[in-house]
C-alpha cells in the first residue's frame, strides 16, 4: 500500500482539481493556466525523449504539435459537428465524450507519422545537422498548413469549440482539464515505461555512443526512429489538447518560438529527467503568466523612479527578453538544469518507497 502513496496522492490531487473546477471554485483564468501547464508538461516530456534521453537536438517540436493540433481539430469537427467543410457530423454529438480519445489518438498518430517522415531522411546525420533539419521541418509544416485554404490557411481554423460544447451538453464537467490530466499521465507513463524497457536501454546506448551501441547489437536506426516517432506523437497529443482548449488554431502558434519554449523547459528541468522536466514545465508556465502582471508593475515602478523615459512603456514583448535572460543565467550557474539527468527519486532515494511507476 505504502508503495502507492504518491500515486494515490497524485490521483487525489487531480480529482480535487477537477472537483474544484466542477464546483466553479476555480477562476476561469486559473483553470486555463492549469490546463496549459498540463499541455506544456506533455510537450516538454515528449521532447525530452529525443533531446534528453537520446542526446539528439531536435528544434522543431512545435511542428509536430501543429500537425497534432490541426489533425485533432479536423477530426473532432468531422466527428461531432455540422460544418461547411465536412457536412453533417459522422457521429451523434452525444458520443463526443466517449469518442474524444479517438480524436487524440488520431492526432498523435498523424504527428508520429510526420515524425517518421522527418526522421527517415535525416537520421543519417547527427548533432547540428539534425537541428537544422528539424528547424526546416518546423517551417515546412507551418507553410503547408498556411497554404491549404480549405482549413483556413493563415486565418487559422476553428469549430472545435462545438465539439467541446457537445461534451459539456452531455455532462457539465471541465472536460478539457480532465483530458489534459489524462494526457499528462499517459505521456509520463509512456516515456517512463519506454525508457525502463529494453528499448530504452537502446536509446541510452545511442545517446552515449552510436558505434558502441551498434556493436552491442542495437539496431540504432530503428531505435532512433522509434523514439523520434513516440516523441513527435506525444507532441501531437499536446497540440490536439491545445487546439481544443483554445477552440481556435493558427499555424503561427507553433512556430520556432513554440519549439524554443519546449527546449527551454527541457534544459531548465534537466536533460533526461522526467520529474525535472515536469517541474520545469510548471515553473515555466507560471513564469510566463507571472510576467503578465510583473511587467506592468515594473513599468509603473521604473516610471515612478523616473528610470524610464516618459514616452516609453514597457510592453509584454519584454517577456521575450526576460525569459531568454533567465535561460542564460541558468546555463551560467546551473547548466545541468533543476535535476540534471537524475529523477527526483534518485535525488531523494527515500521517495522510492512511496511511489510505484510500473
Amino acid at each position: 500500500m505504502r508503495r502507492y502513496a504518491i500515486n494515490i496522492l497524485l490521483c487525489a490531487a487531480a480529482l480535487a482539481l477537477v472537483g474544484l473546477a466542477q464546483a466553479d471554485m476555480l477562476d476561469k483564468y486559473v483553470l486555463t493556466v492549469i490546463t496549459f501547464m498540463g499541455i506544456n508538461c506533455i510537450f516538454a516530456v515528449s521532447l525530452n525523449l529525443v533531446n534528453g534521453y537520446m542526446g539528439e537536438f531536435s528544434c522543431g517540436h512545435g511542428g509536430f504539435m501543429c500537425v497534432g493540433a490541426y489533425v485533432g481539430s479536423l477530426l473532432s469537427v468531422a466527428f461531432f459537428t455540422d460544418s461547411k467543410l465536412f457536412g453533417a457530423p459522422l457521429f451523434a454529438p452525444e458520443l463526443a465524450p466517449f469518442l474524444f480519445p479517438l480524436v487524440l489518438l488520431g492526432a498523435s498518430l498523424a504527428a508520429a507519422l510526420a515524425g517518421l517522415l522527418v526522421a527517415l531522411p535525416s537520421f543519417h546525420t547527427r548533432d547540428d545537422y539534425l537541428a537544422i533539419i528539424t528547424i526546416a521541418a518546423n517551417y515546412i509544416i507551418i507553410s503547408i498548413v498556411e497554404n491549404i485554404d480549405a482549413i483556413g490557411g493563415p486565418r487559422g481554423f476553428s469549430g472545435m469549440k462545438k465539439a467541446v460544447n457537445a461534451m459539456s451538453d452531455f455532462a457539465d464537467c471541465p472536460w478539457m482539464l480532465i483530458w489534459t490530466l489524462i494526457g499528462v499521465a499517459v505521456c509520463v507513463m509512456t516515456v517512463y515505461r519506454l525508457m525502463t524497457s529494453t528499448y530504452g536501454k537502446g536509446v541510452s546506448a545511442v545517446c552515449q555512443n552510436e558505434v558502441a551501441a551498434e556493436i552491442m547489437g542495437v539496431d540504432t536506426n530503428r531505435v532512433k526512429i522509434m523514439a523520434f516517432m513516440v516523441s513527435s506523437g506525444l507532441g501531437g497529443l499536446a497540440g490536439a489538447l491545445y487546439a481544443h482548449v483554445y477552440g481556435y488554431v493558427n499555424a503561427q502558434s507553433f512556430n520556432l518560438l513554440k519549439s524554443t519554449e519546449g527546449l527551454v523547459m527541457v534544459y531548465l528541468g534537466g536533460m533526461g529527467s522526467i520529474s525535472g522536466v515536469l517541474m520545469a514545465a510548471v515553473a515555466f508556465t507560471l513564469l510566463v503568466e507571472a510576467l503578465r502582471f510583473v511587467i506592468p508593475w515594473l513599468n509603473d515602478g521604473l516610471h515612478a523612479l523616473s528610470l524610464l523615459p516618459a514616452g516609453y512603456e514597457l510592453s509584454q514583448i519584454w517577456k521575450w527578453v526576460i525569459i531568454p535572460l533567465t535561460l542564460i543565467l541558468l546555463m551560467q550557474f546551473r547548466p545541468e538544469g533543476f535535476l540534471g539527468n537524475r529523477e527526483l527519486t534518485q535525488v531523494f532515494p527515500r521517495l522510492k518507497r512511496w511511489i510505484t511507476l510500473k
Partner: protein
C-alpha cells in the same frame, strides 16, 4: 568459417585496403599486425560492417561467414545473427553509466532475459570489475576500462570476438593478464581476431598471423614461423 576475399575498402575516395584476403577457422586466434596506417583497424571495422563515415565503405571483394556473404548486413545483425562483435579501439565504454549498467546494456540483443549468470561469468573472468560494479565506468583505470570493453563484448554471447589494440595504454603486467584471459577464453571455444601494435605479444598468443603493410597483406603464416622470420623480425619486432 570467416573468409575475406580480395577485400577493398575506402574512406571516401581514399582506398585503405587494396584487396586483402585472409581466413579464420573456428577456435583460432588470428592476429593482424602491421605498422600505423597499415589498415588493421580498417579491416576490423569492415568485418563488423560498421557504418561510414567513421568506418570504410567496402568497394570490392567479399566477406563471407560460413559461405554466406555478410556484406549486406548492418552491424547490429552481424552481432545478433553471426554472433561476432568488436571490442573497439579506445574502448568506447558508456562513460556515465556504472560498470553493471554497461554490462546490462550489452545484453540488448537478448531482450529482457535474465543476465545475472552471464554477468557473474564476466566478474569471474575479471574480478576487478566485480569490485567496481557500482562505480561510474569513466572513473576506472585504463586497464579496467579495457576489461570492461572486453567483458561488454562477451555479454553479447559472441562466438567470434574482434579486438582492436587491446594492449593500448596498458602497463605490461596488465597487458599480459589481458592476453592470458584471451587465451583462456579461446580454450573455451571463442574464436578471436586481434589487431595489435605489440606484434611480438600478439604472435606469442596467436595461432596464425597476417602482416599488413599499406593496405596489403605482405606475409602470412603460423605465428611461430612469423616470429622467427628475419624480415618480419627486422620490420615489426624490433630486430
Amino acid at each position: 568459417m570467416l573468409r575475406v576475399s580480395n577485400l577493398k575498402a575506402a574512406y571516401g575516395k581514399i582506398e585503405a585496403l587494396h584487396g586483402i584476403s585472409f581466413h579464420v577457422d573456428k577456435g583460432e586466434i588470428v592476429t593482424l599486425i602491421g605498422a600505423n596506417g597499415a589498415g588493421k583497424s580498417t579491416a576490423l571495422k569492415a568485418l563488423m560492417r560498421l557504418p561510414p563515415p567513421e568506418s570504410p565503405v567496402v568497394t570490392g571483394g567479399d566477406i563471407a561467414f560460413d559461405g554466406v556473404s555478410i556484406l549486406d548486413m548492418p552491424a547490429h545483425r552481424v552481432v545478433s545473427d553471426i554472433r561476432m562483435t568488436l571490442a573497439p579501439e579506445g574502448r568506447r565504454i558508456f562513460g556515465n553509466l556504472t560498470v553493471m549498467e554497461n554490462l546490462q546494456l550489452a545484453s540488448w540483443s537478448r531482450k529482457g532475459e535474465n543476465t545475472d549468470k552471464e554477468i557473474r561469468r564476466i566478474f569471474d573472468l575479471f574480478p576487478r570489475l566485480a569490485e567496481r560494479a557500482r562505480q561510474r565506468s569513466d572513473t576506472l583505470s585504463g586497464g579496467e576500462q579495457q576489461m570492461l570493453a572486453v567483458g561488454r563484448a562477451l555479454m553479447t554471447e559472441c562466438s567470434v570476438l574482434l579486438l582492436d589494440e587491446p594492449s593500448m595504454g596498458l602497463a605490461p603486467l596488465i597487458m599480459y593478464d589481458m592476453f592470458r584471459t584471451l587465451k583462456k577464453l579461446n580454450a573455451e571455444g571463442l574464436t578471436i581476431i586481434v589487431v595489435e601494435q605489440n606484434a611480438r605479444l600478439a604472435l606469442q598468443v596467436a595461432d596464425r598471423g597476417y602482416v599488413l603493410d599499406t593496405g596489403e597483406i605482405v606475409a602470412e603464416g603460423l605465428a611461430e614461423e612469423l616470429l622467427h622470420k628475419p624480415e618480419i623480425k627486422a620490420a615489426y619486432l624490433g630486430g
